[in-house]
Amino acid sequence: MLTQTASVPVRTMPGMEGGIAVLAENKVYALQHPYALDGRVSSYPASARGYSVANSYLLTQSDAAMLIDTGFGKDEPAIRAQIESLIAPGLPLSLFPLRLNEFMSINNVETFAGHFNVEQCYTSNIDAALWFDFGAKADGRSILDAMPVTAVTRSDTIKLGTKGRPIDVMQAPLRLIATRWLYDRTTRTLFSSDMFTHVWRAHRDGPWIVTADDDTTSARELRSFLLNTRYWWLEGAPTAAIRRGIAAVFDQCDVETIAPGYGCILHGRKVVARHVEMLDEVLAGLDKSVAVSRYVARDEER
């Protein structure tokens, strides 16, 4: 049973791990599935212990839905059941995996494309169907070949449903590889993929949403998280352009919730502002004007 803050209700399903956090009723649901941090998770420092969650997000309209990231294979039955509990059978479903090269984002595209009425898969790469074929289904390749793929640029707006709910697409200003961020204007939610992923928990039951009453992350912890994960190269880098890119996102988008691909969701204007400011402060402190770029060995933790 997941626990959650009073401001964000959570639904669980009997016999299934993971929960549905209702970020905006009938609009945005977070499908959250915990995993242990035991030194065997690439997206967290090797020394991190405790738990995190893989987040998929379901955006719903009365006549359409969109799933952002498809989760790990271990959670496929649970995520599928969660989606079935939230949308009507046969409802047109779009998929939008934000990173094409990581299991957490694409592991279940093939299965969901074969199970749901997937009307399209949004992606940064027109050849994306080639990337999702993991052999989960005997006819997976033909399912994927039949799945319409809609390419989006690094600055685009897609429309969800006949009412045209706008979802802004942007290139992630800080990233490992080709990564998209999304902004849902309707709910003021920024889907930040592999950024703002720095809050994890000691216990398997979370809570998986950070609110102003429970926001204890320090800039030092954020810095350490970045340098001990996929952003190990930031120390001594010219971070000004990255900072400008992040600032531009938050200048243009009125963000109330940051919804990362993994880790705790950051909810509320005060929390969002604090974490954005912390990130900017950390990046400024890593800039080449005050730090030196050097060779960083694989297992060096800072």
């Binding site: 690439s42 090269n101 299991f103 592991n107 809609t150 390419a151 050097r294 694989r298």
Partner: protein
Amino acid sequence: MTGRMPREIAPGVFWIGDCLAQRHQGKIYHAYNAAFLVAGETASVLVETGHPKDFPVIERHLSELFARGAPALKYLFVTHQETPHCGGLGRILQRFPEAILCGDVSDYHLAFPHYESRMRWMNEGDAIDLGGRSLMAVEPVIRDLRTTWWGFDTGERVLFPGDGFAYSHYHQDGHCGLVAEEAVSLDLPDVSAVFADLALFWTKFANMDAYCDRLDHLIERLGVKTIAPTHGLPITDLKVTVPKVKEGLKYAAQVPESGTNEKVPVAQQT
């Protein structure tokens, strides 16, 4: 796709797999998502699995090699968790039920939990015995995910650097299936910059001189004779080609980042 594969790039080391077309700045480049079979006296190890799309090709190439006498596949070593390197993992383990996955096996228990009992952790210096040669986990100088290991064949001193030495090649010039020294028209600064834009964002922000120096140190320390990158063409003459690759890496770091996968906007699609 090329008829040159499987190709033996060093005694007992076979290059297999296929290219992937990359659209960039209005051009189409090719890059490999290669795999390599290292055949010992008693066992073989597959290094990388190839791109998710390539399993049929990988399976066919492996079948050819086993028919020619390569020992049974007992091990699978993948450099890291990005799917162009490990996307075929589930099907390899299914197709070869005796094979054990080795390396930094982070995440795979989350993606393929039914194979968790066949995953073995390796630390730096740990080696897989193939009979007469072994595959060792070594320092990953150029990496993106922190969980990367590079592989090293102690027999023929072949380095498997995963995302290191990553560059595209020109399909139209017939480069598919060639080693780097044969691809005479390859413009390494150009193709290195393309790959950096698409897949190695960090190289535009780090001091690449320091990483190139470390590459030299590793190559010297291990006595590397051949380099078998996942994305670039294999390097068989290190004195000739490694300086060019380093030049390309440094050049790519200076070229302004131009974004990833520019496509026709949604609004213009029909």
